[in-house]
Amino acid sequence: MKKINLDISSTSYLFDNHNIWNDIKKEYKLNFNDYGKLSSQNLNKIRNKIEVIFFLLIDVIDYPNNKINQKIIDNILNLIEQKIISNQEVLFFYSKWYPKNYIRNIKTEDNIKKHFTSLETKINILKKKFTNFYVIDLDETFSNHGFLQIFDNRNWYVARCRFSELGLKKIVNSLSEVIFKIKHPSKKVLVLDCDNTLWGGIIGEDGIENIKLGTDGVGKIFSDFQKTILKIKKQGILLVLASKNNETDVIDVFKNHKSMILKINDITAYKINWRSKTINIKELANELGLGLDSFVFWDDNPIERAKMIKEIPEVTTIEVGEDIHEWPSKLEALNFFVNLKPSKEDENKTLQYKKRFEFISEKKISKNEKDYLKSIKLNPKIIKIDKSNISRASQLTLKTNQFNLRTVRYSLSEMKKIISNRENFSFLVSLQDLYGDHGNIGLIILRRINSKTYFLDTFILSCRILGRHLETWIIKKLFDLIEKKQIISLVAEYIPTKKNIVSKDVFKNHGFKKISKSEIKKLNKNTNIPRLANGNNSILYFCNKKTLKLDNIDIYEKN
């Protein structure tokens, strides 16, 4: 492709041979006009050309009279109008900084300011009227660094350049950012995680009453973050949720949490389930009929982000950082969503796409996901329960709601009793991977039914490591371990609660078979463990090594 020509004019020298310009020279063909001459140069149409004007107020001030030279201003306006009409793209960068005495201005009106306001007004009218005219107020980026750092009087007297090296760098950055925005389409979709992204805490664990959202403390940050998201939505960006959660829990927050800024109608589409987010986003792209390159992904979890970057590099994954107090301004500062050529359709987009969106479910684990999981070097370990970690074991039964097959809670003293009973067999599971040490995140408690059978009393995994198929590894280990004790089969129970739907199919997926009613009666007669299959919808399973199914165990096999 041919390089775009940039025709650059400026009211003062811009050090055009300085190596600061080197990077931008690689991408565009730069032509610098003699500085100070803003009169119309070549108005003949060159294709692929962008006109760039740098206007520094300080260059046109008539000092002794403390006013702006009106002639120069008229010239500039003329020039801009000519160029706009010739249908070229015109970028007008300006700075209205000049040395001031703010104490003097306390009582007197600053003439220069007054004069310049009239020029600014005219320019702003033009920028609204013509789509090919872009106005960039450099002071907005300069003020972040401080004007005294940006301007350099020494360079002015030595070389007729107003800027310091930092100042030059900033204008070059700004120029390449603006041109990039003009030439590249903006992003269309913001994909959001829910837990610890839209609110503090985990809805499936903490419950709707305890998540952090509202007017004080950390909750205020999440509220402000949601406000910024809503602002972006109003600019025509589609909001989409990708969350590992029970759908009903999340929808409940949207509908019933009083401090939610975002409402369910603001969301174009969502995938709230326990599958990989990469699969979910690919499906969303399909269903919305948008390219993956128009998606921006915001998730507090570095593992989800790394996975997205690795598996779908087309999606723009934001390095959100750990300082959530920076999130609202960080989101606001993202250039990806800025559309320099907006249309009226944008405002109705949410609705249009919403109609298009349909929920399709899919259960297969993709090859990509498997490769990813293999690559993060998952390293689980069986941990014996002792004094040092027994409180963690109890805590797991008390706090875990999602991957908890029976949701039986054990206090510390109850847990001590269980461990000291030799009939029982219990252990914790720890996990390490490339992202760090997750600590003890799993708990198994087995109770003896008879000389050949154990009952799986407790099977818990902490929600922060779900999606890694660790349950498959644990079930395999379980059978390896009980085999040594000459026990060949397991009875297991799933007791459904509002929150543990995620673990509903675990036994079925691993080859466990449902137990018939008559067998349950028999079991309940012959054992001293609590009555089984007592509650509503509780399901009992039976499994031995022969019927065991371990589909994804290869993730944990070391090569």
């Binding site: 050090f15 041979n17 300085h18 190596n19 020494r154 360079n155 007297y157 030595v158 070389a159 090296e165």
Partner: protein
């Protein structure tokens, strides 16, 4: 004070991409060393030595010998 000379030589070679360096070189001795690259050279030296040349120094310093002398004074 051999060190200052060495640093000046290093920066000189980086900016002008030349292999030869003597104290007697001055602005205009070769095409690449014009008034603009001269400023760039002086600004790079300022950054390295954490000094600041005055306007008149920037306008008057022309040869490597003068530049080194000026840096030593700072």
């Amino acid at each position: 004070m051999k060190k200052i000379e060495n640093v000046v030589e290093l920066i000189f070679k980086r900016i002008f991409k030349r292999k030869k360096f003597t104290k007697y070189l001055k602005v205009g001795d070769f095409n690449e060393w014009d008034s603009i690259s001269h400023l760039q050279f002086l600004i790079s030296l300022e950054k390295k030595f954490k000094i600041k040349f005055s306007v008149s120094e920037m306008l008057e310093l022309k040869s490597i010998k003068e530049i080194i002398k000026a840096i030593k004074k700072k």
